[in-house]
């Protein structure tokens, strides 16, 4: 018993040169990855193999070759047992409009094997946890996209799984809804203790939510490392200032001043999640505690108004971009990997990794 617990503690999902070939396309190509408990982001463009991987992990589609296990259970043999302790939230709409959220989630709880009374009790709890209150008795046809996404999440959580697979949970949400959903996903792990595998084609939003990010492209593993690896070494300070009559372009004046003070400054450009208005934001590399004082003094000397000054980690996408620029065709995937996941890319220093990185950028832009 203690043995299995140990195994499960180390990995929730493990794949070993997992391949899936269809007559015309190869959806997964010798993918080997270990995913530890926590929130893991699975990033890839449309058609990168994310959905195929999820299908295989749920034991619904046999792999062409290789092996995969979820929660220590083999996907080829124990599909039913896996699906009992795994939750799945599909990307597409899946809610019948003429039943209420409560009825629907109760039914889904029973479909997961919960006895009727437990199904009702867990439904009430889960809907409350995802933030659905009085409206849960109304037919779901009248729900907003945000509410529908919450119901979809609730039906994936209602049977108290040990792992949930969330397929593009932020699709179609406005920025506020997106933030709420990401916060909720974070809580699924921190408060509920359920491991999460969340797919997205946006790197930026996973950065805030995930402990670990796995990037796949064309069915191949591109990179697997902890989010802190992506962002840690590059803490920076975002500074936004007003313009004054003395300095009609306050941002530029500040930049010059900071350059003179010996700090590395660059304009923020567009945020990785497409956040607008970044032209007036400067990113200052934090060299130490003194950096903050220098920035403050520089602004005060110029007499500019400080709109904001916030600590910001570099976006994952930026790391990708700089990788592209700095190390052309180099074997990028050998980043130190906290979880010890093997880098199952096609081969060392292959040209594929460079082109794949180009795709990484495209993924972000998508």
């Amino acid at each position: 018993m203690s043995h299995t617990t140990t195994v499960e503690r180390v990995t929730v999902i493990a794949t070993e040169s997992l391949s899936k070939r269809f007559p015309r396309v190869t959806a997964l190509d010798r993918l080997s990855v270990d995913i530890a408990p926590g929130v893991t982001g699975l990033v890839g463009a449309n058609g990168a193999g994310k959905s195929t991987l999820i299908k295989i992990l749920l034991g619904l589609s046999p792999a062409s070759e290789g092996r995969a296990s979820v929660l220590g259970l083999d996907v080829a043999r124990d599909g039913s047992a896996i699906r009992e302790s795994v939750g799945y939230m599909p990307e597409h709409d899946c809610l019948p409009p003429d039943v209420s959220a409560t009825e629907f989630v109760v039914h889904m709880a029973r479909m997961s094997g919960l006895p009727p009374s437990a199904a009702r009790e867990r439904t009430a709890d889960t809907l409350r946890h995802v933030g659905l209150y009085e409206e849960r008795y109304r037919p779901m046809g009248g729900y907003s996209t945000g509410m529908k996404q919450r119901v979809k999440l609730a039906q994936a959580l209602v049977h108290d799984p040990r792992l949930v697979l969330l397929d593009e949970p932020t699709n179609g949400l406005d920025p506020v809804g997106r933030d709420e959903m990401l916060g909720l996903i974070r809580r699924v792990h921190t408060d509920f203790g359920i491991s999460v595998l969340v797919t997205s084609h946006l790197l930026g939003e996973l950065e805030r939510t995930c402990d670990h990010v796995v990037v796949i492209d064309g069915g191949k593993l591109l990179r697997s490392s902890s989010t802190s690896d992506f962002t840690q070494a590059t803490a920076s300070l975002a500074v936004e200032v007003t313009d004054t009559s003395d300095h009609p372009d306050g941002t530029r004046a500040l930049r010059t001043a900071l350059d003179r003070a010996g700090l590395t400054v660059q304009p923020a450009g567009r945020g990785a999640d497409g956040s607008p208005g970044s032209d007036h934001v400067l990113l200052v590399d934090v060299a130490g505690e003194k950096t903050y004082d220098t920035v403050r003094d520089a602004i005060a000397d110029l007499g500019l108004g400080l709109v904001r000054m916030e600590q910001r980690r570099h976006r994952i996408a930026e790391i990708f971009r700089s990788d592209d620029e700095d190390t052309e065709a180099a074997d990028v995937p050998d980043t130190p990997d906290a979880a010890g996941a093997p880098d199952g890319t096609s081969g060392p220093g292959s040209p594929a990794s460079a082109s794949a990185h180009g795709n990484g950028g495209a993924v972000d832009a998508a």
């Binding site: 799945y88 479909m111 094997g113 509920f192």
Partner: protein
């Protein structure tokens, strides 16, 4: 128990905001299949659905039972020595009602899940394709059996109240039940296959009605022509080409029914066996086609 755990649990209770894990039983595949069955069966009568969706099935159920009640009332009032309608004949007489019910509820059972893409949610749970198909098939057949069996029960109870011969009535009732059970399986299978082809409920309804009425209409016309030309042999052969005439043939050959074919020339035992084979083949074939259909739907 380590003390921290206890404190944590207590804190959960006080604030009542914490997440509670589920430690209870998980009843697995068979239970999930039963749950899907009962949900679908209830749904076939609009239970657990909106008030509007209860109207059609309940109305048809009433229409189905009303003639039986009238027949029974007449039989009791006139102190008849037998029921004016045989148990096996009742479903054939009211086949239009059964057809309407089938057409309205079969798409409800399967098209909705396809249209609103709920199917992947089912298959992400412990059940397998087979469980889904079996549950839906059984639910639809049971719903039809309730629809066709209830009036027979009314007839039987009425016959006993009218003090008709117990042995005769029980035998007739039993034969009637077997016949409507076969009819339920056949209609459920065919209608589900048709309905599962389209996510559009309207198309499903139209297709099932068309299939049932056109096949019956065509078979009746051709049978009438054959009868007219004195070709009595072919009358019973032609009956193999529509669902309701297959049931008619089977019950005429084996369940003591009087055929509603022209001239009452139902199949004999030899042709009757063929009828049974076709009937069972159609039921099994429907099941096979549904399995194939849902293997593809998946996620």
């Amino acid at each position: 128990m380590p003390p921290e755990t206890v404190t944590k649990q207590r804190a959960d209770v006080i604030h009542n905001i914490g997440y509670r894990h589920y430690e209870g039983p998980r009843l697995g595949r068979a239970y999930a299949r039963r749950s899907l069955f009962s949900q679908s069966l209830r749904g076939a009568y609009g239970l657990g659905r909106s008030a509007k969706s209860k109207v059609a099935p309940m109305l048809l159920f009433a229409v189905m039972c009303l003639p039986a009640a009238i027949i029974v009332a007449v039989a009791i009032a006139t102190a008849a020595d037998e029921l004016p309608v045989k148990y096996t004949r009742y479903a054939i007489m009211l086949q239009a009602v059964i057809g309407l019910y089938t057409a309205s509820q079969a798409p409800q059972a399967v098209s909705r899940d396809l249209r609103f893409k709920t199917v992947p949610l089912y298959f992400s749970r412990p059940i397998e394709t087979m469980d889904y198909v079996v549950a839906k098939f059984a639910a639809m057949a049971s719903a039809l059996f309730i629809l066709t069996g209830a009036p027979l029960l009314i007839l039987y109870v009425g016959a006993l109240l009218a003090k008709l011969d117990f042995a005769d009535q029980t035998k007739g009732f039993g034969q009637g039940l077997v016949s409507v059970a076969l009819l339920s399986l056949l209609f459920a299978g065919i209608s589900l296959v048709v309905a599962a082809l389209t996510p559009r409920r309207g198309f499903g309804v139209a297709a099932v009605i068309a299939l049932l009425t056109i096949s019956y209409g065509a078979v009746s016309v051709v049978q009438a022509i054959a009868w007219d030309q004195g070709n009595t042999d072919s009358v019973s052969w032609i009956g193999l080409f529509s669902p309701i005439t297959i049931i008619d043939g089977v019950q005429t050959a084996f369940l003591g029914a009087t055929s509603s074919f022209p001239g009452g020339v139902g199949p004999g035992t030899g042709t009757g066996l063929l009828y049974v084979l076709v009937l069972l083949g159609l039921i099994a074939g429907s099941y096979g086609l549904l399995m194939r259909r849902y293997r593809k739907v998946g996620l």
